[in-house]
């Protein structure tokens, strides 16, 4: 199908082209720095604004930020470890399992997905 149209940026929809800066070198970096700045602002905000909680622990300064960061980091690391135990080849359950359907690269413009 359309998987193999020549990679010409002019053929992209307007909205797609508006996002293209993401792909340019430094695009990702820009996103990341924006994130850092936002995080910093939030820490500042935490001390500026009054917040009301139901539980005492919520009173702890930047509790939510810490919780978010560390729990997610722990989660990701945990996943990496767990993968060692859980991972199996993709034909583990059945040779024709859903995970085995050919990828678009493999089937190379052979199927009409409009069916």
């Amino acid at each position: 199908m359309d998987n193999r149209t020549p990679d010409n940026a002019d053929t992209y929809p307007a909205l797609g082209r508006a996002f293209l800066w993401l792909d340019r070198p430094g695009g990702a970096k820009a996103v990341r720095y924006t994130l850092f700045i936002l995080c910093a602002l939030l820490i500042v905000a935490d001390f500026v604004f009054y917040k009301k909680g139901y539980l005492p622990i919520e009173e702890f300064p930047i509790f939510y930020a810490l919780f978010g960061f560390f729990s997610c980091a722990a989660l990701l690391i945990c996943s990496v470890v767990m993968r060692v135990i859980l991972e199996r080849p993709r034909d583990y359950y059945a040779p024709t399992d859903g995970a085995l359907e050919p990828s678009p690269q493999e089937q190379a413009a052979k199927v009409d997905h409009h069916a």
């Binding site: 998987n3 939030l42 917040k51």
Partner: protein, 565 residues
């Protein structure tokens, strides 16, 4: 006018009419119009038990309309409309009919005032929805559908057993609040739990959703689990056990969702996690919490459908939803990518998006009840959920590395319905009073306090920070094209292995049977064929003389018998 007709029958009627209509837009239009009519009808319904039927001496309440059932029925009508619009391109009678029957059964179950009616519709949703999986017409989807059907029917059988016990104990089939004090209510609880995807009973969801067709997944995600939420809210509100089940359900899928490669499965895990929130809400059972659970179910349908729609559109264009195969397609599918981001923001409960206003209700209720551990679990699930669904799905589907895929933008009707759903998500998020007005209880709750917004943003953005920092390192589990063991390993492998052991004597029996088939049985059949086959004496023409002789003999014997006696 429509008071006398159970709303579900509108859908069944449409399912009957649909095959008669010519293939094409007319059918799609029917699928689209029925939910609108039904929705308007439901909105106008007065409260009370509207329709009753006699069945084997039971009085069945087909239409119990109260605030709780009405909000779910409305939700299902909206979901059916969105799903129908998404499936506009569909030219598959099986899927369209199954869709109508499925929605009808779900709405019927919601309005069921007694357990018997509930059971019928309960099984109806199972049987009709499996066709949405089978309609993909691949071997994998066939087996997946079989597993789905087995589990769903199993839920139905447990429900039936529970109903029978309940009836024999109490003499009533009314479907009202129950307590977990008898085997009957336990059975019913577990039956609900299977459909609601309790922890360890959840694998059918992960297995079945991604196995369905592009449109089937969207439809499936909206009804079965939410129907179970309704049933739990009706029957087991305030059951403390549900709080802990909910907390566990919310945390359990996080790791598997991280590891999963198929993005539709990731979304399924994320939706499963959201179910946990609802269980907690129902388990706490205060009006605030129940409202929260119902509101969360409501918006859960919206963003669940939105996410599956965007991934469905991707799949429709590229044929895959696997993280390893996708990436970089935001360039040619920017609108879809945008809608996916809206969905992701909604499920992650970003302020201004749908999930925020409902999730806050539940977390606040948990905190209010001083359930420390539960509250922590929910917080963890919020953060982790954002990590998987809010970041992983859009990132790996649309951004990440730039592959060679350059699919066209999604078809017009898909864009339209995704846009519509996205707008609904944002509307619900920005205008919570309208959402709260639909809920059964009057609760004054203001999600948009400065403190709340800041804490929530902190939680989410620092999660994002962790993601951003770990992504380039080896500490981030990048998707691999592999299978990860989950609890379903128990019944797909362990149980099969155990059955295999049991099978040895059975196999011996069948081998003996085979030998018998090859030897004596074959000889028997040959003898039978020679005696009774088309060329045999019994089935050939007989000479008239022989026949007459038989008459004479029969006469002789008859005379003999009657004289001798």
């Amino acid at each position: 006018m429509l008071d006398a007709l159970p709303t579900a029958f509108l859908f069944f009627l449409a399912a009957l009419i649909l095959p008669i209509l010519p293939r094409g837009p007319l059918r799609s239009l029917l699928v689209l119009i029925v939910p609108v009519v039904a929705g308007l009808a439901v909105y106008a319904l007065p409260m009370g038990n509207l329709v009753q039927a006699e069945f084997f001496g039971f009085t069945l309440d087909l239409m119990r309309v109260d605030p709780l059932s009405r909000v779910f029925a409305l939700l299902f009508c909206i979901a059916a409309f969105l799903g129908g619009l998404f499936a506009w391109h569909l030219r598959d009678t099986v899927q369209q009919v199954a869709m109508l029957l499925y929605v009808g059964a779900a709405i019927g179950a919601v309005f069921a005032g007694d357990l018997v009616t509930l059971f019928f519709y309960w099984e109806g949703t199972a049987i009709s929805s499996v066709f949405l999986i089978w309609a993909r017409r691949s071997e994998a989807s066939y087996f997946s559908g079989m597993r789905y059907l087995t589990i769903q029917i199993g839920s139905g059988v447990m429900l039936l057993a529970g109903i029978i016990l309940h009836y024999s104990a109490t003499g009533s089939i009314a479907f009202d609040a129950m307590t977990l004090d008898s085997p009957a209510s336990w059975l019913i609880f577990i039956a609900f739990g299977i459909k609601a995807a309790f922890i360890l009973l959840n694998n059918w969801m992960i297995d079945a959703y991604p196995s369905a067709t592009v449109t089937g997944t969207v439809i499936l995600s909206a009804f079965t689990t939410k129907l179970a939420i309704y049933a739990l809210a009706r029957g087991f509100a305030g059951t403390e056990l549900l709080i802990y089940i909910g907390a566990a359900t919310a945390v359990y899928p996080l790791i598997w969702a991280q590891l999963e490669n198929d993005l539709r499965r990731v979304v399924a895990y994320a939706l499963n996690l959201q179910q946990g929130f609802m269980f907690v809400g129902i388990g706490i059972g205060t009006e605030l919490a129940l409202n929260g659970a119902i509101a969360h179910a409501f918006v859960g349908v919206l963003y669940g459908m939105l996410l599956f729609m965007t991934l469905g559109a991707v799949m429709y264009r590229t044929g895959t939803s696997r993280a390893t195969d996708l990436g970089g397609i935001y360039k040619t599918m920017p609108l879809t990518a945008l809608f996916c981001l809206v969905g992701a923001a909604s499920i992650s409960a970003f302020p201004l998006f749908a999930g925020f206003v409902s999730k806050s209700l539940i977390i606040s209720a948990a905190a209010k009840g001083s359930h420390y551990v539960v509250w922590g679990c929910l917080l963890l699930a919020s953060a982790g959920g954002f990590l998987v669904c809010g970041l992983k799905v859009p990132f790996f589907a649309f951004f990440s590395k730039d592959g060679s895929l350059r699919p066209r933008e999604a078809p017009g009707h898909m864009l339209l319905v995704m846009g519509l759903t996205a707008v609904l998500c944002v509307l619900a998020g920005t205008n919570p009073t309208a959402l709260y007005a639909l809920l059964p209880y009057d609760v004054s709750y203001q999600p948009y306090s400065t403190g709340h917004i800041i804490t929530q943003l902190q939680l989410l953005l620092f999660s994002a920070l962790a993601f951003a920092l770990l992504l380039p390192t080896r500490l981030y589990p990048r998707p691999n094209p592999t299978v990860n063991l989950d609890f379903d390993w128990v019944y797909r492998r362990l149980l099969l292995g155990a059955i295999g052991l049991l099978a040895i004597p059975v196999r011996g029996f069948f081998r003996a049977l085979d030998r018998f088939k090859a030897g004596p049985l074959k000889a028997l059949i040959r003898t039978l064929y020679n005696t009774y086959g088309p060329m045999a004496r019994t089935s050939q023409f007989w000479p008239t003389g022989a026949m007459v002789l038989w008459i004479a003999i029969l006469l002789g014997v008859t005379l003999l018998v009657s004289y001798a006696s």
